[in-house]
């Protein structure tokens, strides 16, 4: 499980960085999306990978913390997803505005001189 997770984080982050460095705005935003998936998975994984353990404890009872999953990274990742989604949506709008104003989808707003 660790191997699968780390490989997928690596592949997502690698493709994300590559796309981010491309000159077209569409590639940039897809790259940002992939990178944020990688980061979200990474945050999730710092809570250690466990199976079959609930993150919620019973109130009042004496509990063994080892029998439960860490709920904090799960809460963090939720927040990160929401914020990432909102900012990516905002960015998309600006990319559309840029496309409309400049007439090109190059990130610099003009085609490079050849």
């Amino acid at each position: 499980m660790e191997l699968v997770l780390s490989l997928s984080i690596g592949i997502l982050a690698g493709s994300g960085v590559w796309l981010l460095l491309r000159p077209r705005t569409y590639q940039v935003i897809i790259g940002l999306g992939l990178l944020s998936y990688a980061v979200n998975l990474f945050i999730f994984s710092v809570g250690r990978l466990v199976m079959g353990r609930p993150p919620i404890t019973q109130a009042g009872a004496q509990i063994d913390p080892a029998a439960f999953a860490d709920p904090v990274p799960q809460a963090l990742v939720l927040t990160a997803i929401v914020i990432g989604f909102a900012t990516t949506a905002l960015f998309l709008v600006i990319l559309l505005a840029s496309r409309g104003l400049t007439g090109t989808d190059h990130v610099d707003g003009k085609e490079p001189d050849r």
Binding site: L20, F42, V46, V72, A80, F91, I94, L95, A97, S98
Partner: protein, 549 residues
């Protein structure tokens, strides 16, 4: 006022949040009401932050600063999120409010009409800034950073236009990547320590085993890259001059403090997390700040000389200011930090005033007016604007003289000439560098201090050259097609207020420096901060509520 300071701590976040959200319900035609609401809440912010500043400084008692902790949800620390107010955060809050009020008044002249939701965005930016200064939790810091950045995206693009959208695309892309780095850094630190509370982290970091320490350090390094992008350290700063020059004047003026947020966070976290380590001043972290800061000053100096427009010039001045602060932090000396804090306040006020002033000066030249015209057309405010021009656009007699005086004051501040506070700031930093009183063991002065001094003075010289050049160009030999800029009284007033604030800083330099020294020494010895957070008293629940449980 019967509110306890602990309860007042959350006000700088709540006031702009509520006021900003309320304005979403108002139509853009109700601009007078919106403006009144914004002014009212900014005034309230200013009053509250001054109150908080006086509280933390214990009304002038130097040795004991007071720290207020606000526990959200009344959880016992270190659980859940808390807000912590100490001298540094109170100072930054006051600086933010001091900047925000003049900038807001300036924007009422014409800029708040140039697009939609200016007031909401502005207030939410203030909320993000205040939250970032107050929070005592690493992840909460991320959230406030995002609030601040999201509002700033709107403000960069306020008024639209080709230049802004082009600069905005780069700005947003870079900041989104910085946010991702922030998250990776936070996740790594949490993975190693199991906590996100800053005070708790400061306790746990010295106890971390050798094998895990490397992971913690890489987490901290990735985290600081995110802050260094905000602060604009070379080579992470190429976005900054273009963005600040393209942003509308009021936005650029308030962005002057946004780059200081990165500095604030670095200052606080570096000393809190790694200040216990005696090797820290020689360690890689401090060295990167030191040499990175020097590189930033050099880059800014070259940029200042090379910039064609005043807007870009001001952007590069931000870099010089950031570079000076980063270098001072990299030296890790209490005295230098105190000088740097004074420099931070003085340079932020000066740069902010300069951004406002530039717009007024360029209004007389064709370029800025044409950009504005595009904007107004795009938003359909064309007719309204021309009407306004006829009614309110009275030409102040001797406009040029007033503008010129303000420009000269800005120049004196940025160059660091006496008599204004820019000189005192640089003088304090340099005298702390070479003053054997602070460290009487140090007989030989390190080479890097000489470099710092040379660069600091060179950057002042470059600013002098660049500003006299553009000053002569703008005031004495204006281009043939230039017209006398139409400037409203409420646009000159904020600039004068900002510059007068630096005058107050100069006249009250003694008390202000004592405050900065106290702030710096509590930053370098963070034990009281940690103690107050970890032993923050919880509010007792009212009796009937307890009974129902």
């Amino acid at each position: 006022m019967r509110l306890s300071p602990e309860a007042l701590v959350i006000a700088p976040i709540l006031i702009p949040l509520v006021a900003g959200a309320l304005q979403l319900f108002l139509d853009d035609r109700g601009r007078k009401l919106k403006a009144a609401l914004s002014i009212l809440s900014t005034v309230a912010l200013l009053i509250i932050s001054i109150q908080l500043l006086r509280f933390t400084h214990a009304d002038g008692d130097i040795s004991e600063g007071r720290i207020a902790v606000y526990l959200l949800g009344n959880w016992p620390p270190p659980f859940a999120i808390n807000l912590v107010l100490d001298r540094l955060s109170a100072m930054m809050l006051t600086l933010t409010a001091t900047l925000a009020l003049p900038v807001l008044i300036f924007s009422l002249g014409r800029w708040h009409k140039a697009g939609v939701h200016f007031h909401t965005l502005f207030l939410l930016l203030l909320m993000g800034l205040n939250g970032a200064f107050l929070t005592g939790d690493l992840f909460n810091l991320f959230v406030f950073f995002e609030v601040m950045l999201a509002a700033s995206y709107g403000l960069v693009l306020h008024g639209s236009g080709l230049l802004r959208v082009k600069a905005g695309v780069h700005y947003i892309a870079i900041n989104l990547v910085a946010s991702l780095l922030f998250l990776i850094g936070v996740a790594l630190i949490y993975g190693v320590t199991g906590t996100l509370n800053m005070a708790d982290l400061a306790i746990r970091i010295p106890q971390i085993s050798e094998t895990n320490y490397m992971m913690l350090e890489s987490g901290a390094a990735i985290l600081s890259v995110a802050f260094l992008i905000k602060a604009g350290m070379w080579p992470l700063s190429f976005w900054l001059p273009a963005t600040y020059a393209a942003a509308p004047a009021p936005s650029a003026a308030i962005f002057a403090i946004m780059s200081k947020v990165g500095i604030y966070v670095l200052l606080r976290l570096a000393l809190l997390f790694f200040g216990h380590d005696p090797d820290f001043p020689e360690g890689p972290g401090a060295q990167i700040l030191l040499y990175g800061g020097l590189a930033t000053i050099s880059f800014g100096t070259v940029g200042v000389l090379a910039s064609q427009t005043l807007g870009r010039f001001a952007g590069f001045s931000v870099l010089i200011s950031s570079g000076t602060l980063l270098t001072s932090m990299g030296l890790v000396q209490t005295e230098v930090t105190a000088g740097a804090l004074y420099y931070l306040v003085s340079s932020t006020l000066a740069i902010s005033a300069l951004f406002l002033l530039i717009e007024l000066i360029e209004r007389g030249q064709n370029m800025a007016t044409s950009v504005l015209a595009v904007t107004m057309e795009a938003f359909g405010y064309q007719d309204e604007e021309t009407e306004d021009e006829e009614i309110v656009g009275v030409v102040i007699p001797r406009t040029i003289a007033v503008l010129g005086t303000c420009f000269a004051a800005c120049a004196i501040l940025l160059i660091g000439l006496p008599p204004l506070s820019g000189f005192i700031a640089k003088f304090v930093i340099l005298s702390a560098l070479f003053n054997p009183d602070a460290a009487n063991q140090m007989t030989n002065i390190p080479t890097v201090s000489w470099w710092f001094m040379a660069l600091l003075i060179l950057s002042g010289l470059a600013t002098l050259i660049a500003m006299s050049r553009s000053g002569i160009h703008a005031f004495w030999v204006p281009p043939a097609d230039a017209v006398l800029p139409r400037v409203l009284f409420i646009e000159i007033l904020p600039i004068a207020v900002l510059l007068c604030t630096t005058l107050v800083l100069t006249l009250q330099a003694g008390p202000v420096m004592r405050f900065m020294e106290a702030t710096a020494s509590s930053l370098h010895a963070p034990q009281p901060y940690i103690e107050s957070v970890m032993h923050a008293p919880r509010t007792e629940l009212p009796q009937p509520l307890k009974a129902t449980e």
